[in-house]
Amino acid sequence: MGKLYTFLKYFFITIWTVFVVAPFLWALTTSFKDFNSVNGGVTYIPWVDFEPNLEGWRVLIKSPAQGGVDIVEPYFNSLFVTCTASLISIILGTLSAYALSRYTFKAGPIKNNDITFFFISQRIMPPIVLSIPFFLFLGAVNLLDSLIGLIVVYIVLLMPIAVWIMVDFFNKVPREIDETALIDGCNPYQAFFKVVLPNSIPGLIVAGMFCIIFGWIDFFFAFILTFTEVQLLPVKIVALNSSITPWWSLSASALVSVAPLIVVAFIVERYLSKGNLSGAIK
């Protein structure tokens, strides 16, 4: 019985692993093809089925004028927007989360949990609902097709995540630590910065990671709110999809753009094993 279970376990894991890896492998081999390779039908293994070619990859480096695909600028744009918006979201979100965790608010019938719910409910809105008004709003203040405009919008997307994670985290830090800091002569701000915050690093890292992930993968807002001046990575790649770009450049671009977050996967696993993520759900 135990043996059957172990066998099933490895079997299932193998299948899932194949499933996870499949699109990557396919993209990888595709990226090395060129027109000659796809003439006879679908091909898989380089050197066996077809002659590998670096055309797909070379295209990434060439400038558009030479027929290349420029993904360097979108790359950095995405990076900049995501990181800035995440940073701001975490700063503002953590402050608010601390207040929601430690103090009671009451404005008529509205209490702490309602305010927290308000923050989190921003995630429910599908991008469409907000995209049209944001489109008009940014247009009115001349921030369409700009990095700053996008950052402003991303804050709405990411702050809820920061608040959600940090409220839960702060709830797990004993209140008595804040109290002791107060007794030791700290005013509430000092207590927060000198005592609570240093003990919240794991929570901040988790919040940071989730913010970066959800910011990096946004397609829709970037799609709606930027055109030519500013292009973000996801938008660029999708644009390639609809044009006549051959599959190999497409695959190469795609692979390059998803690579960075794999690093994040390692960091997440590290913290997971240390048991630091367990507080993020309620």
Partner: protein, 286 residues
């Protein structure tokens, strides 16, 4: 002694959020009461849009059912598979670290970009899936058959987001207290019994949280649909989000799109609250 510091902490975040949101929200509501399209400006037509929505637009409600079907199916699948995976890499296993990282990776990729790859993957004549299956005699129309297209969307969504469930559930498993398991071991419980009576109940609160969060995110399915099928073939994978997108940004019936958005928002908030309560009662009835 005053407590004004508590407001100093809360308000920056709250104000920034409300500040950024306030105009768009009010605008959406106002817009929904207008007939803004390519011809009219911001006129006022009262509740006409809503009336039309509720009486004359079966396509919206169909899209809503489709959305419910898609999101519930994917979330259930993600939950089951995610839980299974989490459970398997929870305890000592060969290459544990490798598998844990590997299983996290799909979530770290940009959905749209991966979907572009999936599109080539499932391509009916040039893609590897049909090539391999062709050897066995059948080549399903992954992207052009109405029913199958839904299935393809589900496959892509499951690939993309199961890691999210996996992550939350594994974190949950790792944080469980040891005592109940020791007790079960002493009582000589089999692995199956252990799971049903110890592991699963202990994971109930985390499961509910994970499911709700995933449902919130899954209901926004848009990227995948846009790239993979553009809502098609026909309208078979058209979700509410996509339909609103078409009406608003393709057909430019902004006023109507706004009313759909607002209705959608209310329905979502209500259903999620209901689902949360039901799940809580169901899983925590101990």
């Amino acid at each position: 002694m005053n407590f004004k510091h508590k407001y100093v902490f809360l308000f920056p975040g709250l104000f920034v959020l409300i500040g950024i949101l306030i105009f768009p929200i009010i605008f959406v509501v106002r817009l929904s009461l207008s007939g803004w399209n390519s011809y009219n400006g911001l006129n006022f037509i009262g509740l006409e849009n809503y009336v039309r929505l509720f009486t004359d637009d079966p396509r919206f409600w169909e899209s809503f059912f489709r959305l419910s079907f898609l999101s519930v199916t994917t979330v259930v699948l993600q939950y089951v598979i995610g839980f299974a995976l989490a459970h398997m890499v929870w305890k000592e296993i060969k290459f544990q670290r490798f598998f844990r990282v590997l299983f996290l990776i799909p979530m770290m990729t940009t959905p749209v970009i991966m979907t572009v790859i999936w599109r080539t993957f499932f391509h009916e004549s040039l893609g590897p899936v049909n090539d391999i299956l062709g050897n066995f005699g059948f080549a399903p129309k992954w992207l052009t058959d109405p029913t199958l297209a839904k299935f393809t969307v589900i496959i892509v969504e499951v690939w993309q987001w199961t890691p999210f469930m996996f992550l939350l559930l594994l974190a949950g498993l790792l944080s469980l207290p040891k005592e109940p398991f020791l007790a079960a071991a002493i009582d000589g419980a089999s692995p199956v019994r252990k799971f049903i009576y110890v592991t699963f109940p202990l994971m109930a609160p985390i499961s509910i949280g994970a499911i709700i969060i995933r449902l919130i995110e899954a209901s926004k399915i848009m990227d995948t649909v846009y790239v993979l099928t553009s809502g098609g073939p026909g309208t078979s994978t058209e979700t509410s989000s996509f339909y609103i997108f078409i009406k608003g940004l393709r057909e430019f019936q902004m006023g109507y799109a706004a009313s759909m958005s607002f209705t959608y928002l209310i329905i979502m908030i209500i259903s999620l609250t209901v689902i949360a309560k039901v799940l809580t009662k169901l899983l925590l009835k101990d």
